[in-house]
Symmetry: C2
Subunit: 341 residues, 2 copies
Amino acid sequence: MARAKVTIHDVASAVGVHPSTVSRVLNANTRHMVTAEIARKVIDASRDLGYHPNALAHSLRTRRSSTVGVLIPDITNPVFPPILRGIEDALGNAGYTAIIANTDGVAERGAVVLDRMLGRRVDGLILATAQRKDPTIDRCIAEEVPLVLINRTTKNEGRTTSVITNDAAGINLTVAHLAGLGHRKIAHIAGPLQISTGYERHRGFIESMTEAGLKPDPALIIVADAYSERAGERAALALLDRGKKFTAVVAGNDLLALGAYDALASHRLRCPQDVSVTGFNDMPFVDKVSPPLTTVRIQHYEMGVLAAGALLERIKEPTARGVDIKLEPSLVVRGSTARPG
Amino acid sequence: MARAKVTIHDVASAVGVHPSTVSRVLNANTRHMVTAEIARKVIDASRDLGYHPNALAHSLRTRRSSTVGVLIPDITNPVFPPILRGIEDALGNAGYTAIIANTDGVAERGAVVLDRMLGRRVDGLILATAQRKDPTIDRCIAEEVPLVLINRTTKNEGRTTSVITNDAAGINLTVAHLAGLGHRKIAHIAGPLQISTGYERHRGFIESMTEAGLKPDPALIIVADAYSERAGERAALALLDRGKKFTAVVAGNDLLALGAYDALASHRLRCPQDVSVTGFNDMPFVDKVSPPLTTVRIQHYEMGVLAAGALLERIKEPTARGVDIKLEPSLVVRGSTARPG
DNA sequence: GGCGGTTGTGCAAACGATTGCAGGGTTGTA
DNA sequence: TACAACCCTGCAATCGTTTGCACAACCGCC
């Protein structure tokens, strides 16, 4: 009842003190300024009246909203929920609230979403949408909003903080695994190269092949236009159309790998007997697909927690130089890779 | 630059008018109050200065935050992302922002999260966490916060609005399908009965069995203690332990079904040759598991959109009587069901 | 030319909190 | 007893908008 109404004034007049006194009592680090007895009365009264502080008024006055914005491409992509969960848990513990928005990877949508967040006076931002060259990021830097990039990073040297995976190392694990099984003709379905993960994994692929004593064949490398099953299927079909034989395909992420499954099936190729496939991310349920996907495990939840922590740091210390936290991935071998027929 | 600073006052003094005039210009439905020429000047100036309205101040004054809270059990459960996407898309179009929080289904966490949301003065709430008897809901009703339940509903007659699936009808589809294949000994792994989905699907199971001319056998019905894979596995194992034979199991949702997969496998039972399995929700990627899961498809995204729409209605018309929107599910037959051996 | 009716703008009080400053009361010391 | 040093509490301004009200200027009309 009446929750909408009771303010600090009501509590004040109930106790018979000035609103500022109530404020001081309710504020942990000014409470010592007021007599214990009055403090108790105030606390009792605010409980009895059902007082709940108005965060809006608080934020307006203090210029801190205890809110951070999180931009992701699409919550429907299974990589993100665990990351978000990590972010929310860590922020929640610190008394912060996350506002999440989907951009679908289109810059224009990102801009309006960003506007909305800045309008809400978020204290900081976590971006999972970074492109290697990214106007959204430039804008944030210009506006001096504390910023942390997650999962993907950008070209900006030292101007941002990021929490990412060692993508090249991850790909190296897959290539080494496949080479160890005896594969020599290994294809690569790369993610979009304007995204750091696509770029780095592609670079890692070429390096790892060379390292393994294999020549990366340009005819066996194709770049998908998005991180989605459909894009993966299209890319794999295009690869098959080229007619160049291969016994394994390293996909830029799990969705692309699942798309490749479909393409192979439509060509009556069996996985792993005819073609081995690897993914990247170890997103939920890829252990249950058929065949269970061999993939690179990244630390979703931890990335979220670390990113949130890093952001809170930056909010406290906005001038600190950006750091790059790089987590090491691991290989999870399942049923989608085998010796070449 | 300097975004933090420029306010309506700055724009006003730049143009040489009073702040209230600027406010009127920037507010679509008061703009007609001011001369076209001045309006143009104000608009130009606010663009040039890079003015962005402070949503906090706006909300404080108008008592509308254009924000709604969304409570879900766990974003990591794949049913929710599509629902959330629907909610966010619909809210976004209306200029509203969603704040999402996970409760893990524990009432206490729900209470603190709710506090936080009310503190932020959300204009309304969407709950996907409803229990059949739910203190959170009672509190919302008491506080007169516009409320919409999604996916799960509650006992409160007519006091709430909800957007749910016809759960009993969905289960009926699976039972009819299995009965049609020739199954007679059909088991049921129910979801928690304090949740409406668990309750309704359980009720639907019993009805459908009777309808199909089969006697529901209490020894073949077990209630899982959560909607999770592990709970599904435990329940299925317990069922197997009872030693009573069955040739099909109707699971309360997809996660329980996947857990049942594991339990069957550990008993060297093949699906669907030895035991058929059905799920509920048709969550993403269950078409890719092995065997592809026969399940009940619900309209995730649409539920989200409808719930958001209904909430916006209620915000506009808070006294309107609650309605219950019930969406019809459909059966998707895949590889996990077959004629009994 | 005076008068009622628009029209457009300014004024100032909100919205609900926080906080620097001032003042009244108490205590301790000389 | 007087004075300095505290310790509490109240006062009032402020955060950035919105909005009811007052008021001045203008219009047309008789």
